[in-house]
């Protein structure tokens, strides 16, 4: 899929008064935020701030109790997750959710699902169109593995990879859906320092291809290094938003993270 020329400043994602309650628990209490296209947007906050809940709402796994989510100007809340994936939002998971007994390559090939179409009969009867599509899926998946540096592992079972590589594989699978917006949920969790640095480079590379990145992350060095914009949540509420420099000096953020001392 081609990415049309970006209009600088246009927002790819708009959150309008997002509220999410589970019974009496209010996980998100009215989040308003706009993500400009083509940037790296970080979402930070102490545990329980509602970051993952927000990701679940954007990717359709949860339907917000109140408010609307606009993706490229169109409302997406209430759509099934696979529809949202098809529109161009992909994601990774905080707790790795790979298809563990499938190979590394097959995991990425699965990512091509919404960009391909051979159905039940076409695959069962092995129509010629299906075969060339399959070759294409294979080729593209290999290219994405190449991009993230996992080409050598393509035949291994995904579950046998070390955690760090599993996290990277999830990114490759997400990229294979050809998203315009990718949500990375704690991609550096469980990575060592070298791996985290490589991850930072990879995320910047992804952004340079025109994909907007939204990142939930606890590794502050990584966040401060690569983010263009940071949104801070605290107990399901908006706390602050701005550039890394701005956030670093924000007294409300410092208090939320360090307590009253």
């Amino acid at each position: 899929m081609e990415h049309p020329a970006r209009q600088p400043g246009a927002s790819i994602l708009e959150l309008n008064d997002i509220q999410m309650s589970f019974g009496g628990v209010h996980a998100l209490k009215g989040i308003n935020h706009a993500v400009p296209e083509g940037i790296i947007q970080a979402v930070i906050g102490p545990n329980g701030a509602g970051k993952t809940t927000l990701f679940h709402c954007i990717s359709g796994l949860l339907n917000p109790t109140e408010g609307s989510i606009l993706f490229r100007g169109a409302e997406i809340n209430g759509l099934a997750p696979h529809r949202i994936a098809h529109l161009g939002i992909s994601r990774t998971f905080q707790h790795v959710a790979l298809f563990k007994s499938m190979t590394v390559l097959e995991n990425v090939m699965l990512g091509r699902h919404s960009r391909t179409r051979s159905g039940f009969w076409a695959t069962g009867l092995r129509f010629p169109g299906m075969r060339s599509e399959e070759r294409n899926i294979h080729k593209k998946a290999e290219a994405f593995l190449d991009l993230v540096g996992l080409a050598d592992a393509s035949r291994l079972q995904a579950g046998t990879l070390p955690l760090g590589k599993q996290k990277i594989l999830e990114i490759a699978r997400a990229l294979a859906t050809e998203p315009r917006l990718v949500l990375l949920d704690e991609p550096a969790g469980g990575l060592n320092m070298t791996e985290t640095e490589e991850l930072g480079v990879l995320i910047q590379k992804i952004c340079q291809t025109g994909i907007t990145v939204v990142l939930v992350e606890h590794d502050m060095n990584l966040v401060m290094d690569i983010s263009d914009q940071i949104l801070v949540l605290h107990y399901g509420q908006y706390l602050a938003s701005g550039t890394p420099q701005h956030i670093k000096d924000d007294p409300a953020v410092i208090e939320a993270y360090l307590g009253e001392n």
Binding site: S59, G60, L61, A80, P81, H82, A85, H86, S90, R91, F93, A97, L98, F99, K100, S101, M102, T103, E106, M109, L110, G111, R112, H113, S114, R115, T116, S118, G119, F120, T123, G124, L125, R126, M130, E133, E134, I137, H138, R155, L156, Q157, T160, R173, A174, T177
Partner: protein, 326 residues
């Protein structure tokens, strides 16, 4: 197909092909051909069920009902309305597909084992209909006067002819299923089985795939039912009750859920157990099945096929088994 599967396919194909000749040379087991015809018919049911259980992670307790829908549709249309059997067969398949869709859509939209519950109830209802609609089905006393099968005017009369017809169809269904598994659709099914939420978030319409595979299984079961009807030429509701649905589930489990070869092995084995070796137990048959299920669930959760895989020669690590392209 992958190289391993292609290899197994050839070997199994040859074994099945020479089986009648082999059996003919050994005295006392010539009726094994007949048992194998039933095993082939049941294999069609179990292939569909194996895809549903092993790859979409759902259980159906209505496969005997779909089997019966195919059987009775064929029986009624041919015996009562003089239809050509080959025309009646697709009608049964379409009917089973429609019914499966109606049962499957609401049950499969929910995550979890709602399909098992829905099909359990549905299977019981279908069985009651077969027993009570005496005017159509003949009720418990059965349905007779069902014609046999003929291909282009040539009647399929001998057991050996039936054997090759049924197993030819089993191999076609097997080929179709393997093609599905090693493709975009198969990857989606396996992904649903492993991480449903991730599959959905990566763009797989999980509910639609589960319905599709359930419908496919119902169609295979109905086609099997049609062949059963014309082979046996007599129908009675007791062949389509809940016990039979459980038996089909058991066949898939004994062989190994995540393998079509396992489903085939389990079906052949349990058909021999049921038709041949268990006759002595008579009424205690149910107990024996229960015991088999218990042993398999406790000691062989991956089914008998996992033993063969680990054994010498057949040993393949799970990495290479799942590895490579389709």
């Amino acid at each position: 197909m992958r190289t391993t599967d292609r290899w197994i396919f050839t070997v199994v194909f040859l074994l099945i092909a020479v089986f009648p000749w082999l059996v003919g040379r050994i005295s006392g087991i010539s009726h094994y051909i007949e048992v194998m015809i039933f095993a082939g018919i049941f294999s069609l049911v179990c292939l569909g069920l194996s895809l549903l259980m092993g790859y979409a992670g759902q259980i159906s307790l209505a496969q005997a009902a779909f089997f019966g829908i195919g059987a009775y549709t064929s029986g009624i249309l041919t015996a009562r309305f003089d239809w050509n059997p080959w025309l009646a067969m697709p009608v049964g398949a379409v009917l089973a597909a429609a019914v499966a869709w109606i049962v499957g859509v609401p049950a499969l939209r929910l995550r979890g084992h709602y399909l098992a519950m829905a099909t359990l109830g549905f299977g019981v209802i279908v069985h009651i209909v077969f027993s009570e609609e005496v005017e159509w089905t003949g009720g418990p006393s059965g349905m007779v006067d069902i014609p046999g099968l003929a291909i282009a005017g040539w009647r399929i009369s001998s057991e050996v002819q039936w054997y090759y017809l049924i197993w030819g169809i089993v191999f076609l269904a097997l080929l179709f299923s393997f093609h599905i598994l090693h493709s975009r659709v198969g990857r989606a099914l396996r992904a649903i089985h492993e991480e449903e939420i991730a599959a959905e978030a990566m763009g797989v319409p999980t509910a639609r795939y589960k319905v599709q595979i359930f419908v496919f299984g119902a169609v295979l079961a109905a086609i099997a039912g049609s062949f059963y009807t014309h082979y046996v030429t007599f129908l009675s509701p007791s062949s389509f009750n809940l016990m039979w649905s459980i038996r089909f589930v058991l066949m898939v489990m004994v062989g190994g859920m995540q393998s079509l070869w396992g489903a085939l092995l389990g079906t052949v084995l349990l058909t021999f157990v049921g038709n041949e070796w268990l006759q002595v137990f008579a009424d205690f048959e149910v107990l024996v099945y229960g015991a088999i299920l218990l042993v398999v669930a406790l000691f062989l959760p991956q089914g008998l096929i996992s033993v063969l895989r680990r054994g010498p020669g057949g040993a393949r690590s799970s990495v290479s088994r799942l590895g490579g392209e389709g």
